[in-house]
């Protein structure tokens, strides 16, 4: 599946997401500057992305754990998610995300 990821300079990258990986892992694997300090444990809020173009509504709602952790993210918007909590599947093929500021 494909992920359309916009970096902090506004450049768009079309990257490959392996089935079963998280979007954070795909972003990291593609060399995009995603911190993901805790390594995907939903424990740090440093893989924060904005899910764009109607994709937010298509995703399964964030867990209470993720919503809580987003409180520690900066510049949170209604379409904020932690990319370590979004799975790469057929349903998310073509998902569009923008990396939040560090």
């Amino acid at each position: 599946m494909k992920i359309i990821a916009r970096d902090r300079k506004g450049r768009e990258h079309i990257i490959e997401g392996n089935d079963g990986w998280t979007v954070m892992e795909a972003l990291r694997d593609a060399g995009l500057p995603i911190t993901a300090e805790c390594g995907g444990a939903c424990a740090c809020a440093t893989c924060h992305v904005y899910v764009e173009d109607g994709w937010y509504e298509k995703l399964r709602a964030p867990s209470p754990e993720e919503t809580d952790m987003l409180d520690m993210a900066l510049a949170v918007e209604p379409n904020s998610r932690l990319s370590c909590q979004i799975l790469c599947t057929d349903q998310t093929d073509g998902i569009k995300v923008t990396l939040a500021l560090e």
Binding site: E37, A41, T46, T67, D68, D71, L74, A75
Partner: protein, 349 residues
Amino acid sequence: MNDMTPEAGKATETDVIIIGAGPIGLFAVFELGLLDLKCHLVDILDRPGGQCTELYPEKPIYDIPGIPIVTGQELTDRLLEQIKPFHAQFHFSEMAAGLTKLSDGRWKLSTDAGTELIAPVVVIAAGGGSFVPKRPPIPGIEGYESKSVFYAVRKIEEFRGKNILIAGGGDSALDWTLNLAPVAEKLTLVHHRDGFRAAQQSVNRMHELVKEGKVVFHVASVKALHGNDGALEAVTLSGADKKEWRHETNAFLPFFGLTIKLGPIGDFGLNLHENLIPVDTAKFESSTPGIFAIGDINTYPGKLKLILSGFHEAALMAQAAFRICKPTEKLRFQYTTSSSSLQKKLGVA
């Protein structure tokens, strides 16, 4: 111990200075202790465990050899128990700030709290660096820091009579809302949603204070700061409906938790590669003799950022550290299962 040098001054002398009291720094105490090397540890956090206790104290770890499941806090507690016989000295809530080489070849480490340590060996086990408060991405915020923008409260009295604005939804934001409300002229809390990850009791108390008119709460975030020369006069708040308004305040406290920055280690004059310290894989020594790097902070071909790799690195580092600390003594390789002298050190013989 080496002879005193004039530069030593009032500094404390030891065998090994370890920067970072995470799992790898703690296990280094064990490996060094078996070789009779005494350690001082410096950590910016107020307790041991590093990322294990700061980021995921309750999360299970499944890849520690021989322990099928252990949480970050449990692993830290067990390591502390394991190193107890070696009486390491901890310097918590202190940031390793400067490292200089003395004329006798030893190293002097100074911390931001004024502690000075001298040792022939320095081990950097700092993970990703220092935990520091997250800085909100508000233009020009740096200019207000420690004048009217604060990431921590040192003395409550300094906030007496101020028009305080607190941002965040975690325990720190809520705790300081409750603690500062009695001294503030006015206290406003803003958070991006009407929900909090803080203790329910604190949230309830905050809502009571709102009802009593002692605290104002808005679902909003801070978009801009207004003031002069670091003196804050007002901020621009943006509500859930994107409507913006001006809010008067002269003290802004953003509480968004901690993040990891390399910090002063980047200025120690060490060879760095993408904020990591390249080391050899025989001794885990940096390109500066006497300075070792173990755990997540180092890099070498094939490096894996795993706790178990850091443990191995600590064991090999200790052998090399011994040769620097005790150049005239012969290193005897022994097993804890069979050596009565090691068992005596561990207090089990």
